[in-house]
Amino acid sequence: MPMVNIAGKEVEVDEEGYLVDLSQWNEDIAKYMAVEEKVDLTESHWEVVNFLREYYAEYQIAPAVRVLTKAIGKKLGPEKGNNKYLYELFPYGPAKQACKIAGLPKPTGCI
């Protein structure tokens, strides 16, 4: 699988650019992935990225977008737990793009 050099460290990514070993994840990798995805990381983006990392730590999967939306609504409020808000942050799909930035695998059920 391809290797990329991020902030002086060699990391392995899969053919779609997702991090292979999520224990390697750090903020530099998040920023690199964000540039790849053409996402300008703001506080609001980090909130979702950090939420995803907590979700993964608890359940060992990346949630499907429907599940992510619902869970965000519960934790951060209904004004954030909706498709419009999440797609504005991550135009090419909150599950796909935010998971990549968070260093998680592509969500199961993301067909």
Partner: protein, 131 residues
Amino acid sequence: MSDMDDMDDGSGIIKKFMFLNRKAPHGTVYALEGLEVVLITAAFDQDVSLVFTDDGVFQLMKGIDSKGIEVKDFSKTYRALEGYDIEKLYVDQASMDARGLTEDDLIVDVTVLSVDEMANLMAEQDVVISF
């Protein structure tokens, strides 16, 4: 990506699906693959039941440590099922008894069924898929 919720293709047929988990969590790929199928099926808004029987009851055991065999411990993922609106989890009483397990040993809330109750539940299903 799945946005099935927002689409109306006019089908709207809801069938009763049962996923029958019969094998120990590790050693074969059945348990993990079965779980992935269940998570994918959840996107289609069907009536889903999960049954754990025989060695399949071990899939739900608390405190699994898979580090020594260098595979991912996916047992925590069963706790995510609620968020996927999959709330019907059943275990077979006889399988639990034979392995010295009680509900307190499991990481999720389940309904324990006798053989007869299980047979009735199976008879109600449209589709039964075994892993």
